[in-house]
Amino acid sequence: MIKKLLGATALSVAMASTAIADTVKIGFVGELSGGGAPAGTQYRDGALLAVDEINAAGGILGKQIEVSLYDTQTDPQTSRALVQKAIDEDAYVVWGTVYSSSTIVNMLVAQQNGVPQIVGAEAPNITQKGNPYVFRTAYGAHRGVPALTGYFRDTLKAKNVAVAWVNNEFGKGGHDVFIKEMAKVGINVTADIPSEAGAADFAADVSRIKEANVDAVFVYLHEEESARFLREAKKQNLQPKLVGEVTLTGQKVIDLAGDAANGAVAHVGLTAEANIESIKEFGAKFEKKYGHKTDHNGIKGYVAAYATKYVTEMNGSFDQEKFAQTMHGLTLDVAKYPGMLLTTSWDQDGELSRESFMVEVVDGKQVVTTTVAAN
């Protein structure tokens, strides 16, 4: 009973605050608890940092942004219900989710209701379903992985490679693109090794790669599994170059893997460590506000909020259909739109492109070796 009363009070407080006129409502639907919480909370923190800045500067078209947070518990079915709830509660735009397995479910709801949705998910199929309302904040694996093809062929001069990937929505997307890319340039994939999400024991995986005698290994795992993989690779003295996309060289992986991470190389779309003024400045603001470092998901959230502001102000109204139309084929130049941090474009499918980086872990630090132009 007390719980119910408390719940009712919480609800009425929330309602009182929504009664204030001249606000625009945003539904943040993300992984605030459950397995995806590390990613979802970063996305949220990045977004809320931007919202504070935007509101302090007068909001969007004079309206203050009011964000309602919805926790998916990292469960796709719950996320579907919550996107519905956000839309029932008049969300103008939905931000999230970060996990592809959730996004692929809940984007149907936003599409049916004609509500623009800015997601942090990176699985290729999200922008391949002809959904005109979904937009990314980081490009999908089918854009990221091909950027590595040249590295395998020209820099490493690899003839045979192995791929270690996590067998879920995220990993399968990257794996399938990688296999296609390698076939295109005539590199043999001689060891193709899936593992479970949350896998802890990579002894067999590494030993198979060792046996396969390859020139390089493409590691497409989540952060924690990447760290375990790197440690096992070091233990078994695995020689070939380890190459990843986004996750392999992340700060979290370096913290967990220790010196086993040294020498790992990755192509990174967004990195908080990039030697670029705008990103460093954002990183400092983020750390000042929250007391911990940001990662690529924090940047995604920040960008989602600013994209919402810029697109709406371009339209001059809060028209959702027009929002989607404007954003297709749009390029936001960072010189004019500093909130984007990097110049960013969206194509007709909501897919994104911006410049990216090749990084290598040297002495426990991410070092940007080259910058890859936007594609």
Partner: protein
Amino acid sequence: MMTKRNMWLLAGLIALILAPLGQGNYVVYTLCSWLIFSMAAMGLNLTLGYAGQISLAQSAFMAIGAYTTALLTLPPAEDGVGGLGLHWLVAMPISVFAAFVVGLIIGFPALRVKGHFLAFVTLAFTTLTFLVLRNEDWLTGGTYGLVGMPRPDFGFFNTGKQLRFYYFTLAVFVVFCLLMWGIIRSPWGRAFKALRENSIRAESLGVDTRRITLLAFAIGSAAGGLAGSLVAPLVQFIEPGSFALVHSLKMLLMVVVGGAGFFFGPVIGAGVVILMPEFLRFTEGYYLMIYAATVIVLIIFCPKGLIGLGEIIRNKLRKDKKVRGDMDKGAQL
């Protein structure tokens, strides 16, 4: 003549009919999942509450129901994974039957052995089901799942809209409850109850406990299949993760929280699990902790679940009534 019990049931039904009116799509959707999970949990209640066996496979049976229904009702595809384009009315009985048969196949060996081996076998089965759904993508769409299952159209009544789908679910729920009521009151059902009250005595009275337990488990599995058959058109998207072990655990706790062995216990339990996060949203990440702790406290102090708790309170308030009589009636409800 209306008995007091029937009046309560009628009131409950009217409440369910009125509940979604004037509500947003989200609330209606949540009510739908409540009814669906109630059915799965009521099926599980047969196994747990009546036969006293732990099953951790209810989500796997939901998966069987959901994937069977999806593959039968999805339109045939030019490329990729497609279905047969059959009507839900055809797909549903096949799904239920499939779950029933698999239940028999799983339960038969597990129940040969005394002890809690059904718990282990069903646990293994749930994880195996997940792996098959994830790996055999030629049939199940693999990790990407299946999308776009049509909601049934009955000609005069198309359930495409959320509210209409709710009434469709409610109708299935009512029919399901009547069927379950019938089963509980049949000779089988009386054997279930005898089993629950005292399995040794039941055995000595000539009840083949092993067969009855197996039957309870298989019927419970079929209920899981029915729930799955409704999940497919409700969510219109299914993927292996939605039927992982953790969901079996969730349903098991629904039954325990509501009151194992009480007819409507699982409905209350499902309500707590599905609707409570709404009321406890302000607790943020602590929700699951509070929930788990509540379950433990409830098991220690009130093993009969929330329904049992209600009875304890009622008995405290009305000292004049005989405690035993009241308990018996509660068990029948």
